[in-house]
């Protein structure tokens, strides 16, 4: 099976700090890949590099078989990729429908296709009644939903989702999960970061765990779990089970 994402010794330094340290990712096409790690482990930095939002300090990146560090190949790759970045990418002064139209035009989709897909996505995500609202008036959850709609609009082969479930209500979360499951079932690839391990356990076929910039585990869900729950296994790999909370006497004694 060919790889949707492949990195070799991919690194990113911020001055002396190694945010991502020579990681070798292998994400096969048609997989639902969960990229896990504690806060500040380098998940978002990796996604930013893979989607062209941040230049790597070293190493190679192949997305859908093309080198995204090469400007010409990067544009070709972006035609087949949808992204929800960490801090979203919305224009404050456009409505949801206008923003989706703009995105559709950027991907050179026919006008009718943009309209049909926009209507379906907005209805599915419950944004179809907000036609007059500008995105600056949206709540954080609504912005996430709109970003997801924009990422799905071009019907990409690969989706990068950085914390897509953060701030999204339970009903929409279920809708998104079903949508993504169907999307992967037809052969597309999802690269997802989230802190909600239950979602990863339910959806992902493969998992990578990054700790302090290093990729410490990368395998199929079954291989990773080794008979444990994903949470136990994650804590084991990330070192969470070793950390014993120091005793704080004044917190454990009688309240003052």
């Amino acid at each position: 099976m060919s790889l949707a994402i492949e990195t070799r010794q991919l690194s990113r330094y911020f001055n002396d700090f190694r945010a991502v340290n020579e990681i070798n990712l292998s994400v096969e096409r048609g997989t639902f890949y969960g990229f896990l790690g504690p806060n500040g482990a380098g998940k978002s930095t990796t996604i930013k590099m893979l989607t062209g939002l941040l230049a790597p300090s070293g190493g190679e990146m192949l997305v859908l078989g093309k080198n995204v560090s090469d400007p010409k190949e990067a544009l070709e790759v972006k035609r087949h990729v949808g992204v929800i970045p960490e801090n979203l990418s919305l224009f404050d002064n456009l409505t949801a429908r206008e923003f989706l139209t703009f995105v559709g035009r950027m991907y050179l989709l026919p006008r009718d296709t943009v309209r049909t897909r926009s209507n379906e996505l907005l209805e599915l995500l419950g944004l179809d009644n907000e036609d007059k609202k500008l995105t600056l008036e949206y709540s954080h959850g609504m912005k996430k939903k709109l970003a997801l709609a924009a990422a799905l609009l071009p019907n990409p082969d690969l989706l990068f989702l950085d914390e897509p479930f953060e701030g999204v209500d339970a009903v929409t979360s279920r809708v998104i999960r079903d949508l993504l499951a169907g999307y992967v079932a037809r052969g597309s690839t999802v690269f997802l970061t989230t802190h909600i391990l239950e979602i990863v356990e339910k959806l992902c076929t493969h998992v990578g765990i990054i700790v302090r910039g290093c990729l410490v585990e990368q395998a199929s869900m079954e291989s990773i779990r080794q008979g444990l729950s994903l949470e136990d296994r994650f804590l084991q790999v990330a070192g969470g089970d070793e950390a014993v909370a120091p005793k704080i006497s004044w917190l454990e004694g009688a309240a003052s």
Binding site: N87, F91, L108
Partner: protein
Amino acid sequence: MNIEHFRAFTWLRWRIRINQLKRGGIGNTIVLAMLAVSLAAGATGALIGGFSVGCFVLADVSPTILMYVWDGIVAGFLFSWMIGLMTDLQRTDSLSLDKFLHLPVSLRSAFLINYLSSLAGMTMILFVPMMFGLSLGLVFGRGAIMLLMLPLVTAFFWAVTAVTYQFQGWLASMMGNPRRRRTIIGGVTISFVLLAQAPNLLNILRPWGRSETKIANERLEKVTKLSEDLQAKLIKPEEYAPKYQQIMDDEKANRDAHDKQMDQQLEVYVRLLNMVLPPGWLPLGADGLAGGNPLPTLLGTLGFSLIGAGSLWRAYRTTLRLYTGQFTAGSVTAPNTPAVVKSATSAKPDPNRVRLVEYEISWIPEQAAGVAFAGFRSLTRAPEAKMLLVMPIIFGVIFGGIFIANAPSIPPAYRPFLAFAGMAMMMFSMQQLIGNQFGYDRAGFRAFVMGPVPRREILMGKNLSFFPFAATFCLIVLIGIQCFLPMRVDHLLGCLPQVITVFLLMCLLANLLSIFAPLAIAAGSTKATNVRLLPVLIHMMAMMCLPVLFLPAIIPFIIEITLSELGWLTGVPLALGLNVIVTLATVWGYRRLLTWQGDLLQSREQRILEVVTSKGE
């Protein structure tokens, strides 16, 4: 107020400032240190200068003159204060109270720190020492009674700063609604600009100049009549000189009487204004003390103190209401009211309606057209864009009015230069917006970086989104000039392609500025955040280069006039044809250079993204 909390807030403010300086880099710190030293030197100079003027220059002047001097200082202070206020329209508290509301701390301490922080500005640093220096100088120059100026000046500063703080707090509370926020920012900015331009408008109307003109016309009529009488031999040549002298003497007497009357009128108006408008209580107090009457000063001090205390109390109440959510709580609506039903059904959009962002432009690539219309839509809605785009109109009216009022005798052949200057000024005033195209996109710029659009098309679309504004402003200038100082038809037609030339030249420079010197802009304002020195210097240099950049657009008119003056070619509309050629050449050059600029954008887009999405503390 808890003194420990106050000390903690003071330390916090200081620590944040130090950390900001460290993050700004060594170059930034050096420049800021140099600025601080310059300001300290300026403040010392203002103190000494104010003292010297008060002690030596104003020691013996009349109370009225002293009042005028204080009026001038107060007007200067308010003008400078207002400019500072415009750049930071909505109050940006240095310590956001919502970070402390859950803590058992005194909110009054944080409020007080925020109020005191709001005072630190260039205007205060220069005007406070100057006004106190002047007051002290007056004590030495005119006597101990002038000591009462010190509390009056203190109360004046207290009142102005407290009212300003209250006003900014009120604006912040009103801006809770993002849509209303846009209207308020735009409205207040335009009001400030118009207010600041009031002296210019007064200068255009010159109501005081009419009497002077009348006197001069009377003299001209008499001298003409005298000359005609001499030519008609109604008077003898030896009678001419004394009669002429008599006319001149009469005119001088008339002028003196007129000036005296004007002075008296002016004094009446100024005193009335000083009484009615609170800032005038300061000059009125100085006038009273110089005349030996301390009552206006005492009343002024009391009035200022009450205004200051009242405003600060109101500001505190507004702040509390803002942070406790009373402004955004809204009214409670009963469930299942018709309004609820209406909102659920009436918001359904018409899927067949063609939206502006769906339009296409002939000969323009699809993606560029998409960027252009989305950009144009954003510009028509963004408050910061509205603020910046209204400036060319206001400045065009003000400066254009002044120029046309004072220079009506430009020969028709040279009037295209005036049109060119007007168009250049329009572009100049748009540079802040076009020269930082991606700064105003903020997070939206990520969509360009992540998207599959050739960067050349992004630049073309961005540039095109500004064209309707630029073209409208230039056409307004041309129509204005044609109404007041008509140009030849062929010259007027020649100016039309010139609009495209100057716009494209401007865009080429603006693209480079946007690529190499992007600035992060706070949402809803025109104020740059996390400012670094180099990009600001680059923008300033670019502004200075603009006149040179626009030179190709005026060359056709220079050639035509030169040939005409030399007598080699007259009566031929040469400039019209040349202008078309220059415009076509510019379009060709623009398209070629845009590919290169697109590559530049792609190579620097990640660094631009880092800047434009950075947030100020």
